[in-house]
Symmetry: C2
Subunit: 455 residues, 2 copies
Amino acid sequence: MSKLHIVLLSGGSGSRLWPLSNETRSKQFLKVLRDENGEHVSMVQRVFGQISRMVPDADITVATGVSQVRSLEMQVKGRYAEVVEPERRDTAPAIMLACEHLASEQGARRDDTVVVMPIDPYVEDGYFAKVLEISQAVQTDAADMVLLGVEPTYPSEKYGYIVSEQTGDAPVRKVSRFTEKPDEVTARELIAQGALWNCGVFGFRLGYALGILARYGSFSSYEDLRSRYAELPKNSFDYEVVERAESVAVIPYAGDWKDLGTWNTLTEEMKDPYSGRVVVDDSTCSGVHVVNETGLPLVVAGLTDSVVVATPDGILVSGKKESAAIKSLVGQAAESQPMYEKCPWGEYRVVDLSSFPNGTSALTRELIIREGKQLEYQRQTGCSVVWTVLSGQGEVVIEERLQEVAAGSVVCISTGQAYAAKATASDLFITEVQLGRVLAKEDTEELELFWDENQ
Amino acid sequence: MSKLHIVLLSGGSGSRLWPLSNETRSKQFLKVLRDENGEHVSMVQRVFGQISRMVPDADITVATGVSQVRSLEMQVKGRYAEVVEPERRDTAPAIMLACEHLASEQGARRDDTVVVMPIDPYVEDGYFAKVLEISQAVQTDAADMVLLGVEPTYPSEKYGYIVSEQTGDAPVRKVSRFTEKPDEVTARELIAQGALWNCGVFGFRLGYALGILARYGSFSSYEDLRSRYAELPKNSFDYEVVERAESVAVIPYAGDWKDLGTWNTLTEEMKDPYSGRVVVDDSTCSGVHVVNETGLPLVVAGLTDSVVVATPDGILVSGKKESAAIKSLVGQAAESQPMYEKCPWGEYRVVDLSSFPNGTSALTRELIIREGKQLEYQRQTGCSVVWTVLSGQGEVVIEERLQEVAAGSVVCISTGQAYAAKATASDLFITEVQLGRVLAKEDTEELELFWDENQ
């Protein structure tokens, strides 16, 4: 009996949702939605919930980049395999890597079904019911490649269209061609012909993908492929595989399907129009969403159909329509360095970053180490560190010498000394000043954890 | 020969220009204009420049509150007298206090002319030429009180109108009545009758004002009046004095006159539409002014006729029209504590403020002590202080013990210890953490300067 493997692609840093998203807080991890209990959930959490309800027997593999592993593990508990791309190279290599992992690490068989999909579609449960139909079509050899096609709701110029030989009631249709991002007139014609939107869902037998992979080289194992990942073509799975397949079928899906990748679309699904320290003059504003994750007071008046988003990474003020095109503006404006991050031990926020004429720089951060958690034992070889403990109790280790700390304690760590910290009786709040060559990742040497994690 | 004394009233904290203005950075001190050399100047600096060109022989007295003295002295060098109101009580008491100062401290004579005006009108030089005409009218006894009246340019509902018996070419007109903030229809009628806008410029003989002052009590000296300031009526000079005067004349002024007290009017005169770390999508924005005094990247797209202002005090996003009415919104949103300030010794910026369950709080600030300057010798009786020196060289004194500091130095000051700091060879950059009961002004005890200022 063959099995069903779902491969979820977790890509992109989502700079179109800047400044809420950043390198480590990709859009799919933002907790801006609410589940049925009213709890804030991310797009990833919503999708995992839907899969567990609709396709409970499927194995799940997540293919992602190293910068997202931590967010994924913090948000989703449970059984799924992780495939971490050594570098970002587009969807074709990522899917090949996941397939190799299925075959050589998870013991999947060549005739098993693989259904690849994005990790963050905003869809009805019925979308996941279609995964079973795709699997059935694959297993009955309807085609080498079976896609999901979304019934278009308007002549969009930004999607790819799948044109099939059958239309109407046919549940599985033979695909005749693809048209990428047509103009509006062409889009109308395509819709009249029964064309469907390509939503990035691909079903196939594992063996089919492994056969394609073999064309690029002979890989002896998953680790071998990982180490030679750069040999795979930097191309999308659509162009590299789907459009070259001998037979392609498509299964129509008529329910809700949204890409919440821009402020324009995301705000439609956000339940809270305002969050954080915000005063909005409702008598002069309409269609306005405001997110404030800074401590600064934010006042909004006389604004229409716009978003205002302020975080420690930056401030965006944009018309909703125009927000779809902020990517290049953000590229001009933004830091690559995330200015705040949630970590396994708690969180930090950069409050100041200064450079001085002599070439040194200073980074001031507020750290919160959560009760019972520990900051990794580490050395900074490029800078010294000064901690002022603001609140809480904890322990600090410098070169294996342990000291207790509490509000008012000042800890000086010289360049190159190994240090760690643990919050004991309560959350530990620290103001940290790094001084020297700050922010250079190669200067951080991570050591073993100092305290036993299960202690 | 009688003299001419100009009294400049420096009032209001300008919350309508929040978050650029705050308690210590009132609107009139914001350097958002440019002088003829292209240098940034404030409204106050512009007016002082105009007076020195147009009325060089006048003595100048500035009446202001204690929170503005420092800004005034930093921005304007030269000879002027300062009259510091012990508390804010409206314009009538402030002008009385200035007149008492002229009489008893500056040796002005009762038949000298006093011309009172706001410190921040945005006007042509011709406005100040009118001061001499007012003085001449006062000295020729045209009336007890001689006003300047601005020729209206539209039927405004927000100004006071001065109705006079003569109109047309009469250079000095006898005032028959005042109408405050009429509706638009009435305003049109008033303008048709030749009424002028009241712009808060009042000329009179010093003795006339002293005579009115004597009605409120017998004051033996300037200091006596200051100590009994609360006995003066909390009323505007218009209502308390001008409208009760037996004879009032008005001199017309037909040039530019603007109140730059709202973002709507101020942005019309700002030479730079964008300042700070700002990326504006000009292809989708029009009529947009952006001021960013934070270090955060700020991106603006799809915005029309609006202002975006971000400072350490807060963030404002407002339609320009609606910006005239932000005062109450700001009241709901904002801190009373200024989050940054320029000081005689340099500047500081609050980067974090946290409160903890045990009742303590922590304040993190970045200090820049300018080369050669010193932080006042002081005690904080409510909190301890930790300094991490980021850059520069200097000296720190704790309880009279002096130490040299440089980048990397950490200085711990216990609650109640007296301390001071001086930047010696270069600007001194410090991250400061205050911990305990922070921000309580009564906990700061200011001592003598530690270093001789002329050293």
